[in-house]
């Protein structure tokens, strides 16, 4: 089973984690068009590549960010929100 490293709790099997999805910047809700908003809400980028994603270590409720290469199935690094160095 794949391993994932929580920045706070260390390396654990992926069964201890919940995957939220890719971090995508939202358009400005006040100024964007309905089409732009719908595209943000419903469409996802399926192309392989390095993605920034929210993950949660469920036993400790620790949310963090993982940079994952979805083509090579490799997690490049993980860090707490705001601690991206």
């Amino acid at each position: 089973m794949k391993l994932m490293t929580c920045p706070m709790n260390g390396t654990r099997p992926i069964s201890e984690f919940a995957y939220w999805g890719e971090i995508r910047p939202a358009p400005d809700a006040d100024t964007c068009t309905d089409e732009q908003w719908a595209d943000y809400v419903f469409n996802r980028n399926g192309a392989p590549g390095v993605k920034k994603e929210w993950w949660c270590h469920t036993p400790s409720n620790t949310w963090f960010i993982a940079e994952r290469d979805t083509e090579k199935d490799k997690v490049l690094r993980t860090y707490l929100h705001g601690e991206d160095k």
Partner: protein
């Protein structure tokens, strides 16, 4: 025939083992495998082949083929090569009709012309006849008979951890383990065989010094403090990040390593010539296993077919075991000089270069009696007229190997075909995966030990111990595998895959039909799809395909290796199942009151409380009646309970829910609806303002965990000055409901329960029965009542106190089904029962709860878009005709209007208080006027008439919540 004691034999000669095979009594020695005990007793015919039912004997003695597959009582899939004999065993060969000797299906071989490769794809297209054919297939293609009374066993799985896992305890594996352990790594080394040592303890050529190399490595491994040796344990597969299931007789261990070394060796490949499957023809390594592990003489007078140095050692081992070797036929054009060749010549053994076996011959029993040797030219073609007969009762095949690279493939290793070695070798290993020994293309014994050292140091370094050092591993100078160990014969029966009875011409036919790539060839011919999964056949099949299509083996490629390497018993896979069960603190009280439990997500909740002599539906209706006429108590502890605290707590709620909470008074509660980013209803609950900066709010039972998790994430993004606490499991909650509820509660508390001090929808803190409580007057079931929240450890005490205080008023418990009926009578929806994955608040009449004038809340922008669009459906109340007595529609039955779907039923129930069947349904916006008739189509296609009506169905003005003087 049994030989005198061998130095590393597996036998305990002090214990005889009596067993039966095919109805006859046999005697073996403790430590014998089934196959070795039978061979020692002279029983060479040990099985019948799958398709043609030809007699078969030992081929690999290594579980790389299933010539010897037997049924051991209820135990199926028993591999005679590797399963030890047991006192009292009663074995039968599988796949025979009337027993091994007189198998009635043995005549099938005569019909071979009508059973070419893939014949079943073409022969059984007649639909009418197929049921008959299916019955025939089930009878004749099984490999054992299932006894349905076999007990269902589960064996506990376990996890384990190490720095370096070495798979295979032959010379290179043992060397790798020692190097890694000496560098400080915690090492686990496993071997599928009953005893470690691998080929190092049987590929000897009669040389005791050679044996000593491996023996001393093994002794060191056993003595090393950092090494755990697991014999009789095989690595079943490779899973992500160095996770390997280790399978032994009792259980599965899920081993997590930091580095994995695959030292699994190689599978000897049988040479291909006519009748290469007669009992007595076997791999050279099979003969050596028989000699050194089981002290069994494989033959009296043998011929060795060789194309590598291993074959010469086989010949010397046979002579050391007292057999005579009539000749060594070497398929290579010239024999490389070696000490082994010299030793054989000195013993008078004829060595013939450029020779092969043309055909093997059977005696009256169908077992090997001799061979026809022949000369072959540079391209492997038979030189006509060169045939020559040699009598023998054993033929050792030593013409080549295929790496046991299954786990390397599963790990994603890129392999490369090496022309000199004539085998695939690892080209690019993934991080954390290492290979050494013959699986890595290293065959000389000294080189294998060096290669193991190299891999061990590298693996230990990867695991954080020591550093990888440069180790000299001299390249191989001689090929261990012949490029074309195949001799054509006009009459065929030259087998490639012994499991599936596939001969050379089957491959020629398949390619001719167009199945000319390895994946298609595999599936059409079924090569490699039998119980040994291609261990002894895939490489040869690949060579044939390459030659037939004019490609190189590299271009042909291999099919995908998948778990498991050997069969894994279902008991090991089943293990002990873990299904978390959540119980409210009041669970024991429910059980004591006769609750019938139902599964609600991870929770077990009382569906209703059983009463002697009453049906389920009557119990439910009685519970509901008690709520409306007296007083009753329900456990609502499964609700999600969250607290948000801090100066920006109200702002946080304003952003999460569609409503406004900053303008709530302290002590008030307010209904709350949550939407996701697309504006779909995702959860709902009640928000209570406990203090200026403290809110206590509930979620649905099934949403509790996800809502808490998601709200935690949102605050990391928003960074509002507040904190979120999950109290779902910490608090117990129960609802005391009914006209008498206030009177009952008043006995246990000093709190002012008047409607002036504690109005409908208010929240108050205080103490009941001495227990600190938070109470809310809520409207879910539509009666005066109190939802009381207490710390979980006081839950049962409070429940007992309330039940006691309510005795005089006729209190009783009520369950989930009664509650669902009561809330339906009030027209209250249940999220994900009356809503689905696309429902927005406007479709269910919750426009009032959506405050689009707030600057932001989750889903606002989407709801602004949705609000501009016409509604597609609306949730309405409905009722069936008075006195309706037909079949009652169910949830999800469709509403049909003008032949089209116009909606569906979401909730429906008989209401004793309204006196009719009532429900909620989605209908077209044009149909929402109360009184509108519509039709529901039930399962048998008939229509039931219904009409829209306004909600609540019962007490529409909520009189029950008003003070009654």
């Amino acid at each position: 025939m049994r030989l005198p004691a061998m130095p590393d034999e597996w036998l305990d000669r002090s214990r005889t083992v009596r067993f039966r095979f095919e109805g006859r009594a046999f005697e073996g020695v403790a430590g014998d495998s089934i196959a070795s005990a039978l061979w020692a007793a002279g029983q060479r015919t040990q099985g019948r082949s799958f398709k043609y039912h030809r007699v078969r004997g030992i081929l690999s003695a290594a579980n790389h083929d299933v010539n010897v597959m037997v049924q051991d009582g209820q135990k199926l899939n028993t591999r005679g090569d590797v399963v030890a004999v047991r006192e009292g065993m009663d074995l039968t060969a599988v796949n025979t009709f009337g027993g091994l000797a007189k198998d009635r299906a043995r005549h099938l071989g005569m019909f071979a012309r009508f059973l070419p490769v893939g014949f079943y794809y073409k022969a059984f297209h007649n639909k009418r006849l197929f049921p008959m054919w299916e019955r025939v297939f089930r009878r004749i293609t099984g490999l054992g008979v299932v006894d349905f009374s076999t007990p269902h066993i589960r064996t506990a799985k376990r996890y384990d951890f190490c720095d370096v896992l070495v798979i295979g305890a032959g010379p290179s594996g043992l060397s790798a383990a020692l190097s890694a352990a000496d560098a400080g790594a915690r090492v686990v080394i496993c071997d599928e065989n009953a005893r470690a040592g691998g080929s190092g303890l049987y590929q000897l050529g009669g040389d005791a010094v050679r044996r000593q190399h491996t023996r001393s490595l093994l002794d060191k491994v056993k003595a090393h403090a950092n090494i755990r040796l697991l014999e009789g344990t095989y690595a079943g597969a490779y899973y992500a990040d160095q996770w390997v299931p280790l399978i032994d007789a009792d259980k599965m261990t899920k081993m997590r390593a930091k580095a994995v070394i695959v030292a699994s060796g190689a599978f000897e490949q049988p040479a291909v010539f006519r009748n290469n499957d007669l009992p007595g023809v076997m791999n050279g390594s099979a003969m050596q296993r028989l000699i050194y592990r089981y002290a069994v003489k494989p033959a009296g007078n043998a011929v060795v077919l060789a194309a590598n140095a291993d074959g010469y050692r086989v010949a010397l081992d046979l002579i050391a075991a007292g057999a005579s070797v009539a000749a060594v036929l070497d398929m290579r054009a010239s024999v490389p000089p070696s000490a082994q060749a010299d030793a054989l010549r000195a013993k008078g053994v004829e060595i013939l270069a450029g020779h092969a076996v043309y055909e093997a011959h059977a005696d009256g029993k169908g077992e090997l009696a001799g061979i026809t040797a022949c000369r072959i030219d540079g391209s492997g073609r038979v030189v006509s007229g060169s045939q020559r007969r040699i009598a023998c009762d054993g033929l050792a095949m030593s013409t080549g190997w295929a790496p046991a690279a299954n786990l390397l493939y599963q790990a994603g290793t890129k392999m490369r075909f090496d022309e000199l070695l004539q085998q695939f070798v690892p080209d690019q290993l993934p991080e954390g995966v290492f290979a050494c020994g013959r699986v890595n293309g290293v065959f000389k014994l000294e080189s294998r030990i060096a290669d193991g050292q190299r891999a061990g140091l590298a693996a230990a370094a990867h695991a954080g111990h020591g550093s990888a050092a440069q180790v000299d591993v001299p390249p191989e100078t001689e090929s261990p595998s012949h490029a074309w160990p195949i001799v054509a014969h006009p009459d065929g029966k030259n087998f490639v895959d012994f499991d599936e009875d596939l001969q050379v011409k089957d491959f020629e036919n398949a390619v001719q039909e167009g199945y000319d790539n390895i994946e298609l060839l595999k599936r059409f011919s079924t090569v490699g799809m039998g119980p040994s999964q291609g261990k002894h056949s895939n490489m040869t099949a690949l060579r044939i395909l390459a030659r037939l299509t004019g490609k190189s083996p590299q271009q042909v490629g291999t099919t995908t290796a998948r778990p498991f390497f050997h069969p894994v018993p279902l008991s090991h896979l089943a293990g002990r199942g873990f299904s978390p069960q959540r119980h409210s603190p009041l669970h024991g009280r429910h059980a004591a009151l006769g609750a019938v439990f139902m599964q609600a997500g991870a929770w077990e909740r009382p569906e209703y409380y059983a009463v002697e002599g009453k049906s389920r539906i009557d119990c439910i209706r009685e519970e509901a009646r008690r709520v409306r006429t007296a007083v009753a108590l329900i456990d609502v502890g499964t609700l999600g309970k969250l607290e948000i605290r801090g100066p920006q707590a109200a702002e946080f709620l304003n952003r999460c829910y569609t409503g406004r909470y900053d303008n709530m008074k302290v002590g008030a509660t307010r209904y709350a609806v949550m939407c996701d980013e697309s504006g779909v209803l995702s959860d709902e609950g009640v928000v209570a303002r406990i203090a200026e900066d403290v809110f206590y709010f509930t979620t649905t039972s099934s949403g509790a965990a996800t809502v808490y998790r998601e709200l935690s994430r949102l605050n990391i993004e928003w960074k509002l000055d507040c904190g979120l606490i999950n109290l779902t499991g910490s608090y117990s909650a129960m609802n005391l409901a009914g006209p008498a509820s206030r009177k009952v509660l008043a006995q246990l508390t000093d709190m002012d329960l008047s409607s002036a001090a504690f109005p409908y929808l208010a929240v108050r803190s205080g103490s009941v029965a001495g227990i600190p409580v938070r109470m809310m007057r809520v409207g879910f079931v539509g009666e005066w009542g109190y939802e009381i929240h207490v710390p979980a450890e006081y839950g049962p005490t409070l429940w007992d106190a309330l039940m006691k205080a309510g005795e005089g008023a006729g209190i009783g418990p009520f369950g989930v089904e009664a509650q669902r009926l009561l809330r339906l009578e009030k027209g209250h929806l249940i999220v994900s029962q009356d809503t689905d994955g696309l429902t927005n608040p406007f479709e269910v009449g919750m426009d009032w709860a959506v405050k689009l004038d707030k600057p932001f809340f989750t889903g606002k922008r989407s709801l602004q878009i949705v609000k501009k669009m016409p509604l597609k459906r609306k949730l309405v109340g409905f009722r069936l005709a008075e006195n309706y007595s037909g079949e009652v529609p169910k949830e999800c039955h469709l509403i049909i209007e003008n032949g089209d779907i116009a909606g569906r039923v979401t909730s429906i129930s008989w209401s004793p208080h309204v006196g009719r069947y009532i429900g909620l349904a989605f209908v077209l916006p044009s149909m929402t006027e109360p009184g509108t008739p519509f039709s529901i189509r039930i399962t048998d296609g008939s229509m039931v008439a219904a009409e829209v009506c306004s909600t609540p169905f019962f007490d529409p003005k909520d009189e029950r919540q008003k003070e009654i003087e």
